[in-house]
Amino acid sequence: MSDSSAPKTAPARRKLSAGPLSTGDKWFFRSTSVAAYSAFVLVAFILLFLFLQAAPAITSQGISFITGSTWDNTAEPIVMQIGPMIWGSILIGAVGVVIATPLAIALAYLIVYMLPNRLASLATNLVDLLAALPSVIIGLWGLFVFSPVAAEWGAALNAYLGWFPLFNVSSADNGFSGSPFIAGWIVAIMIVPIITSITREVFSQLDRDLINGALALGGSRLSTLRRVILPTSSGAIVGGVLLGLGRALGETVAIFYVLQLTFDFNWGQILEPKGGAVASMILAKFGEANASEVSGLMASGLVLFVITLIINFFASVIVNRAQPWRKN
C-alpha cells in the first residue's frame, strides 16, 4: 500500500476528524460488546433462575434425582427421580444419530460431488426446507403418518433380527408403537439437515487438488471417499454429529405424542415402548404439576440444559476448529 506513490511534498498536517477514540465510536463499540456479552449473561441467567426454582427439589431428592426411577407425587414426602428419562433421552439421541449420520453424509456427498450445480442447489434448498419444518408439524406428521409405518419397520426388524438383543421385545402386544426406535427416527429426520449442512460445507471447502490427485493416482470414487474425503473432513463431521445429538436430546414436541413415557429404565431394547425423554416428560407433567413438582421439572430442565450445553459447546469447538476458513 505504501509503495503506490511517493509523496513529492509533504502536505500540511491535518487534524484527524475521526479516530477510534471518538465519542460516537466508543459508544458504538461499547454497545456491540454489550450485545456480544449478552450470550454469557443469557447462559448465566438460565443457570441462575433454573437453579433458584430447582433448589427445593434438588435438596429434597439429592443425587437419586438423576439415578432413581420413581416419580410419585402422592407419596409423602414426594418422590421425584428422572433416571429413566435421562437415559431415554440419550438412547433416543443415539438411535437418531446412528440413523441420521449415513443419511446426512450420503446427502452431502451427493450434493457436493455428484449432482450438477442446478440440481445441487435444489437439493440444498430441500434439505434447508426440512430444517425449516416446525417441530410441531413433524410431531403431527409423526403421530398420524409416520408412526404406523415405523411400527411396521419395527415389527419387521423384530421378526427377522429379533435374536439380536437390540431388537428384542418382551411382548408384541403393543404393536411396536411408542418405542424409542420411532422417536429416534423422528429425531433423525430433524437432525439430518444440521449434520448435512456442516458436512456439505466442509466437503465443498476441501482442497480439490487432493481429490484430483487421488483420482489421478488411479483411485476410484469409493477409495477417494474412504481414503481422502472422509479422513480430512472427519473432524467437522464429528462436530456436526455432536451438534445433532445436542439437538436430539432437547427435542420436545416432535416426539411427545409418539413416545411412551414410563418410569422404567430401558437398557437398549429400542423396540420396547419403555423409557422416555426428559423434554417430553417436562411437557407431559407440566399441565397438572403441583408446586413441588414444578420444582422437580425445573431441576429436570436444569439437568437437560447442562447436558446439552456441554455437548453443544464441545461440538461448536470441534466444528470451529475444523473450519479454519471461518476465522478471520
Binding site: 454489550v34 430441500l126 426446507l129 408439524i137 409416520f146 419387521a156 425445573m298 437437560l304 453443544n312 461440538a315
Partner: protein
Amino acid sequence: MSFAPRPAVQPWARVNKSRRAEILFASIMPSAIALALIAFGLDRNLTLVGVFLPIQVLAASVVGYRAFGRRGIGDAALLVIVFFLASFVLVLLASVVTSLVTQGSKALSWSFVTQNNIYVSNTTSLDYGGVGHAIVGTLMIVGLTTLVTVPLGIAMAVYLTQSQSKIKNLVRTLTQAISGLPSVVAGLFVLSMVLTFGWEKSGVMGSMALLPLMLPTVARVAEEALRLVPVDLRYAALALGAPNYRAFFQVILPAAKSGIITAMLLGVARIIGETAPLLLTVPINNGTSWNIFSGNIMTLPAYIYGYLSSLFSTSQNRAWGGAIVLMIIVAILFTTTRILSRPKSMKSKPTKQKASK
C-alpha cells in the same frame, strides 16, 4: 484372480450405445422386480430392503465391473447406496409435505383463516371456527421478539466481525452452543423468572422465551452477511474520515442489507413454529386478543398442539389446517430468503453472455 488380465480401462472414452443399454437395464430391472413382488403381495418394506437394494447393488456392480474393471464395483455400489439414502430423505420430506397438503386442505378456507375458536366444540363443522386468533397472537409475539432480537443479533455480528478481542472466539462458540438450547428449557427459564419475580404469564413472556432461540440464528447469519462485505469498503470509509459507527450504518449495513434481512427472516422461521416455550409461558385463549402484555393469547403452535391429540376427526382436521397455515407462513419466509440470498452474479449473467457474444 489378481493375475487375471485387466480389462482395458479408458475413463476418457465416451459411453457407447451397448453400455448405455446395460446401464438402463441395470437401473430399471431391480425396480421392476420389486414392483412385481409388491404387486404379488410381498411386504413392501421387506421388498425394498431385502430384494430391491441387493439386486440394485448387484446389477450396478456388474455394469461397473464391465465398464471399469474391479474398481468399478465399489464405485457402483457407492453410487447406488448414496442415491438410495438421499432419496430416502427426499421421500420423507415429500411425505410430510403431501400429507400436510392433502390433510390440511380439508380444513383450509377463508373463514378458517379469519375466524377464531369461540363456541367451537369437537363436533362443530369445519365451516365454523378457525385460526384467526392464533395467527394474530403468533404474529404479535414473534414480532416483538424480532424487534428486540434483530438489533441485538446484528450488534453481536458486528462485534464478531470487527472486534479484536481475545474472547471473540469464545463468544462465537458460546453463541453456537446456545443455538442448540432445548426449546423446553427456554420455556422453563422464563417460567422460573415468572415464578421468582411473581410476574404474570402473558404474550410478552412468550416473546422472552423465544429470544434465546432466535438470537443465535440471527447472529450467525448476520455475521456471515457482514463478512461478505469487502473489508476495503470499510477501510475506504474510515480513510475518508468517517467514524466507525457511520462507516457501519452508511456503508457496511446498506451493502449487507439483503443478508441482514435474510438473517431476520431465518430467525423468524426458526421460532415461528416453536411450541414448548409458548405452552409453558403463554396462557391459551379461544378468542382473539390484541393485548400481549397481559391476559390470555393464542398462538398457532399451541392451537395445533391442542387439537393434535384429539380423537375427533374434525378436531384432527383443525390441527392439520393450523399446520398448513403455519407451513405456508414458513414457506413464504423461506422463499423470500432464497430470493434475497441468491448470489448477485446470477442476476448479471445474461448481460455478461450478451457482452461475450
